[in-house]
Amino acid sequence: MFSTFANPHRFLALSKWLMPLFAVLGAIIVATGWAWAFFFVPEELYQGATAKIMYIHVPAAMVSLAAYASMAVCSLLFLTLKHSIADVAAKSAAPVAAALSFICLVTGSLWGRPTWGTYWVWDARLTSMLFQLFLILGYMALRSAFQREQDAARAGAILCLVGAVNLPIIKFSVEWWNTLHQPAGFITLGGSSYAPEFYWPLWYNLIGIGLVFGALMMAAMRAEIFNRQYEAKLARMNRSAA
């Protein structure tokens, strides 16, 4: 399975139809999912209509965390196996992950205003998400500062992995903080504590955002591969011209 993706040509062939499929499916699911959430799901007992922000906020949060995790896995694969497609994947996931983190932060603070009376509190969840956004921005800045793609790849992978080592520590610091943020209840080891009328639409939206993420990431990967091929071609032309 991995070797399929390690080959750029096979990846390009596969993603050629997978990418639009994900995009279309994702768009449909997100659109219907929001419609479902906004018009058909009953209002939450205490928070009323504001809780509907959950259907953007939670999927964005979860997918962005998964996106960072996938960047870390790809970085590890790149450093150990030297498959450049793993690097392309990590690089392409970064802006999408940053955007999702940003959406999570913005929706979270907008949600925080009515429920907690403030846009921002220094709580472990919120802080760790901000931390992740900084890390991804740093990753992108570091990469863009290198002239050679190989160097950028190596440096970026190191940073991404080092950052990943810190993420669990941040996550566990929840226990030392008095936290305002809702504890995990949606997907936990002991099953979900959510009522079914909130549980299923959330799942549906999660899948939708996940598909959109997949489509965007594949599009970015394709662009990156094409760009690298183009640059290689340009290099060859340069050689023969000089």
Partner: protein
């Protein structure tokens, strides 16, 4: 045998740090300067100052470490000295560790030792020598993570605050646990649960950082 050459790198870095204008008292002075500026901005109210002391001490430590660390590898790289280290046959892991250790000794340790003074200036309740330990452990971690940032940006041959941006997020756990622990000590509660975490964090940094640094410096 290996020890010898690495020790020489350590000594060289130490004397350069000394001669290069970042001698013993300077990062400490930078730290002291921050601790001196902050109350001016925050205002003289003792309770407010005491409450923000642990956090400020750790933030000042992070920022003071950045001012020195940024240049460790870059200075060597610019004049071509890094090339020679790479050809010396010494393990780059140990060589980079020796460099960071020397800088920590010159810049990090004095800051840790200054903690009680800073705490007094920030009007902390109970100032004991115990307050040194959290900052001591924290400074080790901060210098090791900082070394990674410095090595990553050294290869860029570009200066600027990129290094700061990259490593500030890595400082987060140290700042959280360290400030909490320091708060425990400064409010007369002795050591808390965070000390073990701080130490574990230092050990993790010690295990990871040399490899990350030597890998980063091999970028062309």
């Amino acid at each position: 045998m290996m020890r010898n050459g690495v020790a020489a790198i350590f000594r060289r870095e130490l004397s350069l740090a000394w001669a290069g204008g970042s001698g013993l008292f300077l990062p400490a002075a930078f730290f002291a300067g921050t601790i001196f500026l902050a109350p001016l901005g925050i205002g003289p109210e003792p309770r407010l100052l005491a409450a923000s002391a642990p956090g400020l001490i750790f933030v000042a430590l992070c920022l003071a470490s950045l001012t020195t660390l940024e240049r460790i590898f870059q200075a060597d790289l610019e004049v071509g000295a890094l090339d020679h280290h790479r050809l010396s046959g010494l393990s780059m892991e140990l060589a980079t560790l020796a460099k960071v250790a020397a800088h920590w000794l010159v810049s990090g340790l004095p800051i840790a030792l200054l903690t009680p003074v800073a705490a007094v200036m920030m009007r902390a309740e109970t100032v004991t020598l115990q307050s040194i330990l959290p900052v001591f452990l924290g400074s080790i971690t901060i210098f090791l993570w900082g070394g990674i940032g410095a090595s990553l940006t050294a290869g860029l041959r570009r200066s600027g605050p990129l290094v700061a941006l990259l490593i500030l997020p890595l400082f987060v756990p140290v700042v959280i646990f360290g400030a909490e622990e320091l708060n425990h000590v400064l409010t007369g509660q002795g050591f808390g649960a965070g000390l073990g975490l701080l130490a574990a964090n230092s050990l993790a940094a010690l295990a990871i950082s040399p490899f990350a640094m030597s890998l980063a410096l091999k970028l062309e």
